[in-house]
């Protein structure tokens, strides 16, 4: 039975992780994500899951990947500075195709910035933070309830696609307390990594399979294999042979990008019937939605597209939604990090107007409404 | 009791010619070939100390006790 109570976004994330089957957490304290570690430290021992506080964020994600290699559903939570430190190993997880979830509760940056204030400044870092070409999945929820369900989805996607998934909360959602009505026994879809069915000596941990996602054996189940951050062949051993490297890198990107239809999730309001389309995500989407509702009451044709999946970006969908609009407005708490993607995708005849705030104040509905009115003038 | 005797083998394809076995052998069992690799020249001298085997960085020296004839 669902009990209604007030829950903070960070707690919802912790609850969602446990529901998803998270059996390992490693982290380092950092505002505004610390509550997640605190909840895990409290809840995990009760269900036999493992919690460890590491010496820094690099160690945290290292421990997460090590645990994940043995089969654990593992995750960590951090914020900008910690996420920056983790980047090398985010790339390691991507290249070695070890499923894991990295929660980044975004705060104002760069550097130490404003630790207690909200931001959406890590949108591009989530995609390109680690060196080299690789794919990644990133998700940005807009409410506490959605944080719970999308955390479960983050683990599922990590397992299904053998990839790190970046869960992009912003401080606003992380610290927001709102109505939370979830039945803890509710049946939800839980996905586990594909297991090999062949004999151990035939196992190819990095096989070029059709869907791009090879089966991943758990350590200790008879499939002894090698995981390396070096570019490797299908067996998992270092290779610099040109076709091997090329095939490998293309599969790594393709396994995510080619499945954008399955991965991508979004919400649309009046996108067919609007002159101005708002594109907003995370906490800012709430302001955008309220602005839209007020403007529509005033008879202005405004719509909202709210990507929940930030990466991979659904180019076709965005292109189709923006076609023929008078303008596309992208309010976000950064200097147009998502707007630049929209601009890249949308034909140049449609103006894409960023509404950026980087003074640590939230974007309020009135600001959005004002800009829409100005555009429609 | 008969004196123990040993078979000493060098797997040439794995040998990198470091010379460690040659220098550590207390009985001068090995020589070095023109390419520097170890060759077993005097196996009958081997006392089975396995110093060569323990110190070979390339796992290419093996000492086996011969069965008594």
């Amino acid at each position: 039975m669902a009990k209604v109570r007030l829950v903070q976004g960070n707690e919802a994330c912790a609850l969602g992780a446990l529901k998803a089957g998270a059996s390992f957490y490693a982290g380092y304290p950092i505002t505004p994500s610390t509550e997640i570690a605190e909840h895990m430290a409290e809840m995990m021992p009760a269900c036999g899951a493992r919690f460890v506080q590491m010496e820094d964020e690099i160690a945290s994600i290292g421990a997460v990947i090590g645990a994940a290699a043995t089969g654990a559903k593992a995750f960590t939570a951090t914020s900008g500075p910690g996420f920056s430190l983790m980047q090398e190993l985010v790339g390691y997880a991507a290249l070695t195709e070890v499923p894991c979830v990295i929660v980044d509760v975004q705060r104002m940056g760069p550097s130490t910035g404003l630790p207690t204030l909200s931001s959406q400044g890590d949108i591009q870092q989530a995609r390109w933070g680690s060196h080299g070409d690789h794919s990644v999945i990133a998700i940005a929820p807009s409410s506490v309830m959605e944080t719970y369900y999308q955390t479960i989805k983050a683990f599922n996607l990590a397992e299904k696609y053998r990839t790190p998934v970046v869960f992009l909360l912003d401080e606003e959602i992380g610290h927001l307390r709102e109505r939370f009505e979830v039945d803890p026994d509710e049946a939800v879809e839980i996905i586990d990594r594909k297991q090999p069915t062949c004999a151990p000596e035939e196992y190819l941990p990095y096989e070029n399979v059709e869907d791009g996602v090879p089966a991943m054996a758990k350590f200790g189940q008879g499939y002894r294999y090698h995981i390396t951050g070096l570019t490797h062949n299908e067996k998992g051993f270092y290779s610099s042979a040109l076709p091997v490297v090329d095939t490998f890198n293309r599969r790594l990107l393709g396994k995510i990008e080619d499945h954008v239809d399955e991965i991508f999730e979004s919400e649309e309001f009046f996108t067919d019937d609007c002159d101005v389309l708002l594109i907003a995500y995370g906490s800012v989407a709430r302001s955008a939605q309220e602005a839209m509702e007020e403007l529509r009451e005033q008879g202005l044709k405004v719509g909202l597209f709210r990507p929940i999946t930030i990466w991979p970006i659904h180019e076709e969908k965005i292109k189709a939604l923006c076609a023929g609009k008078k303008a596309v407005i992208v309010p976000e708490m950064n200097m147009a990090q998502y707007a630049r993607e929209v601009r890249r995708i949308v034909p140049s005849e449609t103006p894409v107007i960023p509404l950026s705030r980087v003074d640590s104040e939230l974007i309020i509905p009135e600001e959005v409404a004002e800009l829409v009115k100005e555009v429609l003038k | 009791m008969a004196k123990k005797s040993f078979d000493v083998q060098v797997i040439a394809k794995l040998c990198k010619a470091c010379g460690i076995c040659v220098s550590l052998c207390p009985k001068n069992v090995f020589d070095r070939a023109a390419d520097g690799k170890a060759v077993v020249s005097r196996p009958e001298e081997c006392i089975g100390c396995v110093s060569c085997e323990l110190h070979c960085p390339d796992f290419c020296v093996e000492v086996m006790e011969k069965e008594a004839e």
């Binding site: 350590f219 200790g220 | 220098s23 110190h55």
Partner: protein
């Protein structure tokens, strides 16, 4: 027929290491140790970082994790916590362990998770061609110390002891049989075991410091290592350029982390917090 200990090797030799490199000697000492202990390949995890020594995991027929530079211990921590029933061996080098991985090293010593760390100390960054590491002795030459290093070096075992490691030993590649015994003792110790191995890099270290020949390097190591018992009777001056070998620290009372965690879980699940 292959010697018994080689059943722990994958079928991908020869390895990449240079002629006379100490890494192979450590690899066989380790394999002899686990063979004598009768350990099951299916129950072992090998973890390493980056560097020449860290390539060892590629040759071991275990579940192996070749991780990022300096990060082997965090990965191993996660793996062991998730599977405390499996045996975890970590292989590292002097640069990997004491420079970029230095923080993880001291915290692993403090945390005391039951796994075995083997640090192959060849005094140099070999993979990148011979730069000085925190374990390069003062005054020795490297490509980034062409006039001799003015950096003071760590004593890795003292560092481990200072950080609370419950088992600390030092061996070397000359005393290869003893090295196997030290690895066995480290494995048998319940808690985090550190085994530093004084090893040779004739190419990147030896050539620049007057010992280019692998056999001479072996002799050099023989002459610069002293058994712990003998060292106790020697003066500080006599020990100045020597490595003391043997078991240097063994504390059996230190709580092992995975056991403490399991006890904590039991406590919480039993309703007593």
């Amino acid at each position: 027929m292959k010697p018994a200990y080689q059943k722990y090797f994958r079928d991908n030799l020869p390895h990449i290491w240079c002629a006379g490199c100490g890494n192979g000697i450590v690899m066989s000492a380790w394999a002899r140790a686990v063979d004598e202990l009768g350990l099951d390949k299916n129950n072992m995890i090998g973890v390493s970082g980056i560097g020449c020594s860290s390539r060892i995991t590629g040759y071991l027929d275990l579940h192996t994790l070749h991780t990022a530079h300096g990060r082997a211990l965090p990965f191993a921590t996660g793996a062991k916590m998730a599977r405390p029933d499996m045996d975890v061996f970590v292989f590292s080098g002097d640069g990997d362990c004491s420079a970029i991985g230095g923080n993880h090293f001291i915290h692993a010593c403090r945390r005391n998770i039951n796994m075995t760390l083997i640090v192959i100390n060849n005094n140099i960054y070999g993979m990148t061609g011979g730069q000085f590491s925190p374990l390069t002795p003062f005054g020795k030459k490297a490509t980034t110390a062409p006039y001799g290093s003015i950096d003071r070096s760590f004593n890795l075992c003292d560092l481990a002891i200072g950080a609370g490691a419950s088992f600390v030993a030092r061996g070397d590649i000359f005393h290869a049989k003893q090295l196997t015994d030290l690895i066995k003792a480290g494995y048998q110790h319940k808690g985090f075991s550190v085994i530093e191995v004084i090893a040779a890099c004739p190419i990147s270290y030896g050539r620049r410091n007057g010992i280019p020949n692998p056999a001479d390097m072996m002799q050099y190591i023989k002459e610069h290592t002293v058994m712990k018992a003998a060292a106790e009777k020697m003066s500080a001056e006599e020990l100045a350029d020597k490595h003391i070998i043997g078991v240097l620290q063994e504390i059996n009372e230190a709580p092992e982390y995975c056991e403490s965690y399991a006890a904590l879980c039991e406590r919480v699940q039993g309703g007593t917090k």
